[in-house]
């Protein structure tokens, strides 16, 4: 604790964001010590990193977590343990994401860490025709009522808000990333955009925005290194039509009438042939673009890639990278 640098713990160390953040912190002289929490050790750990196994689906994960945080003298906790794909085992996913976040927040409160950073997504606003063209951080979190995956993300946000209310001394930061793309990240969005044929809804063409993975990691590092309490939308500059986003990559849009799209989507997801259930088509139907003014003006973070540049960088990188990995990592014990 004596050193001037910060001591960071991160959950979900084996996730894309975890691996990239560890790599960035390893290279950052301001960082003194990294505690990687996950059920498998991260690959990007170096000399500063120490792996401690912590399963957030354990009923006593909060007690265990608090002990680790205190023993390691952690001052900043990054909660990154979220699934990049809608999972078929939704109750396990709920335990990990919603309840897991409750445990993480409990542990943070118990260990009196100085700061908690949550990795969230702009999908928590939900896609809705009543959304303003640019959603600000204070907007209602409608989520996606029929998707447990999105509801769990909203649940995680609620847990952070509760922590901020109960423990005013803890700096609570939530970073809501929009669709994050890049050469290495994998999520269901990257898988959708990797396909030659992409479903879209007939008569709907919302504006979409993207963030480059380097900028996502940059924002995380900034939130760890500096104190920025509150919620920030982390989004690339500019917006483009969804069909234009497909056109940039030479993807062929398949227009589906929305009345058919939802049941077909659900059926394909249940057969494990689609990346997400039918209700996710809402994200291709209505606007859910978020406003990045608070990120630029209050947090002082400006992404280096615009939405369009991030998308183009992603498409360009596809030729060089292997096929995406299988759907969600198999849940332990299932």
């Amino acid at each position: 604790m004596a050193g001037a640098g910060f001591r960071v713990a991160l959950t979900g160390a084996r996730t894309f964001f975890g691996e990239r953040l560890i790599a960035a912190l390893e290279a950052d002289p301001r960082c003194e010590h990294v505690v990687a929490l996950d059920i498998r050790p991260p690959e990007s750990g170096g000399l500063k990193t120490r792996f401690v196994r912590l399963d957030l689906t354990n009923p006593n994960a909060d007690e265990q977590g608090a002990r680790i945080l205190r023993d390691e003298g952690v001052d900043t906790l990054c909660h990154l343990a979220f699934l990049a794909h809608p999972s078929h085992s939704s109750s396990w996913a709920h335990e990990l994401e919603a309840i897991g976040t409750l445990y993480v927040m409990n542990a943070a409160a118990e260990a009196r860490v100085r700061k908690v950073v949550l990795r969230s997504t702009t999908m928590v606003y939900g896609a809705n025709p009543m959304n303003p063209a640019f959603l600000e951080e204070g907007a209602r979190l409608r989520g996606e009522p029929r998707s447990r995956w999105v509801r769990d993300k909203v649940g995680a946000e609620m847990e952070l808000q509760k922590l901020a209310r109960d423990c005013p001394k803890i700096i609570c930061t939530s970073l809501r990333f929009c669709i994050t793309l890049g050469p290495t990240i994998r999520s269901w969005w990257t898988r959708v955009l990797s396909r030659q044929l992409v479903a879209r809804l007939m008569g709907y063409d919302p504006m979409v925005q993207f963030l480059h993975e380097d900028d996502a990691v940059g924002a995380l590092v900034k939130a760890v290194a500096e104190d920025h309490p509150g919620v920030y939308n982390i989004v690339g500059d500019g917006t483009l039509y969804f069909t234009d986003a497909l056109k940039l990559g030479g993807r062929l849009p398949i227009a589906v009438p929305h009345l058919l799209g939802y049941p077909i989507g659900d059926a394909l997801f249940n057969l494990q042939l689609a990346d997400a259930p039918g209700t996710f088509l809402n994200f291709l139907r209505y606007s859910w673009v978020a406003e990045g003014a608070r990120m630029r003006d209050v947090m002082g973070f400006t992404p280096r890639y615009s939405s369009r540049q991030a998308l183009e960088a992603f498409y360009e990188s596809l030729g060089y990278r292997g096929a995406p990995p299988p759907i969600a990592p198999p849940p332990p014990g299932l």
Binding site: M130, Y241, I327
Partner: protein
């Protein structure tokens, strides 16, 4: 790897096919991305018949599904994909603003609008000098005529008659954005869904913003209630102008009421399809789509003296009674402008 299958020929051919596509998880993504060596090699080059025969030979007597798939990929699937990609990439990505407004899409339609403005409705606009040449301004107008032709004519009037040829950004009723095609169309034309956040953003970008505070109540009122202004929402226009420090220009539109006189509305059917009402005009369900054509009435659009609410500031935004009073005054102003014009007008079609 290959040796696990008993039918695999133990030769170089097996080596050649062993290209790293052995991960069963990857078969899930046959359509995903082509990365393996052989696909790259065959991309864009024509496989000759000899090569094809050789490939077929390699398949052996009892090929598995995967071997056939790989052959298909080598022969043509990747080329087919390249062709599809080329088609999908053709045509430029549209130039839009952050809301999705596409000037190139509006341009041809503006000509149609101009024709309707000049020759069909023979719109007479007065007081255009009240609309500033630059800077933000909120146009507040009465809404009527079953279908929003009135909005289109205000846009056309300012675009073609105003010295600065400014582009008006209309705010549009919510229900449009629930419906397929309509919401998309409105967005491309530069309209924005009517809500405080969107409107404030437009004004802060110094746009001419057009709002119809009556909303559906105004455009969907029956012919017998013509030119009687409905409630002006909840005072959102005043709140907006005060927050954005924008002047309000009251606009009265006369002629639109008779262009599509609404006899009655069907509510129950409308609810089922997501529309606020299904209109019944003398011609609308009767003549089918032809009924959507408005009647060539003579139109008058008056732009009134700007109303300055910028000095009100935050106090008034919090003072609900005061806000409502201002809102009622604005409504009365526009009502007065309409009544004056109606007194002057002799015939509906001739003016």
């Amino acid at each position: 790897m290959t040796s696990t299958r008993p039918d695999a020929p133990p030769s170089d051919a097996a080596e050649a096919r062993d290209d790293g596509h052995r991960d069963p998880a990857m078969d899930h993504y046959v359509d995903a991305i082509s990365v393996s060596g052989d696909v790259f090699e065959s991309k864009g080059e024509i496989v000759s018949l000899e090569q094809l025969a050789e490939l077929l030979d390699q398949l052996g007597s009892a090929p598995g599904v995967r071997d056939v798939l790989r052959l298909l990929r080598r022969v043509g699937v990747d080329r087919l994909k390249a062709a599809v990609e080329a088609v999908a990439k053709s045509g430029a990505v549209r130039e839009t603003d952050e809301f999705g407004f596409e000037p190139a899409f509006l341009e041809p339609l503006e000509k149609v609008g101009k024709w309707f403005h000049d020759h069909y409705f023979r719109v007479e606009s007065r007081g255009l000098e009240h609309v500033p040449d630059d800077g933000r301004v909120l146009l507040v107008a009465n809404h009527s005529g079953t279908l929003p032709y009135d909005g289109a004519m205000v846009v056309a009037a300012i675009r073609h008659q105003h010295p600065a040829h400014r582009l008006v950004r209309p705010l549009v009723e919510d229900f449009m954005y629930h419906l397929p095609y309509l919401g998309m169309l409105m967005t491309r034309l530069g309209a924005v869904r009517a809500c405080q956040e969107n409107a404030l953003r437009l004004l802060e970008k110094d746009e001419v913003t057009l709002v119809f505070p009556e909303g559906v109540k105004g455009i969907g009122k029956l012919y017998r209630k013509r030119y009687r202004l409905q409630r002006f929402g909840r005072g959102g226009a005043i709140r907006l102008a005060a927050a954005a420090k924008a002047p309000i220009v009251p606009v009265s539109i006369v002629g639109a009421e008779e262009a599509m006189p609404l006899i009655t509305k069907v509510g129950w059917l409308a609810k089922a399809v997501g529309l606020p009402y299904i209109p019944v005009t003398p011609t609308l369900p009767l003549l089918g789509p032809l009924g959507l054509i408005p009647y060539p009435t003579k139109w008058y659009i008056d732009f009134g003296e700007p109303i300055d609410v910028t000095h009100l500031g935050d106090d008034v935004i919090g003072d609900r009674v005061q806000l409502n009073k201002l809102n009622e005054e604005l409504r009365a102003t526009i009502q007065r402008m309409i009544d004056e014009r109606l007194r002057e007008r002799k015939t509906i079609f001739g003016g």
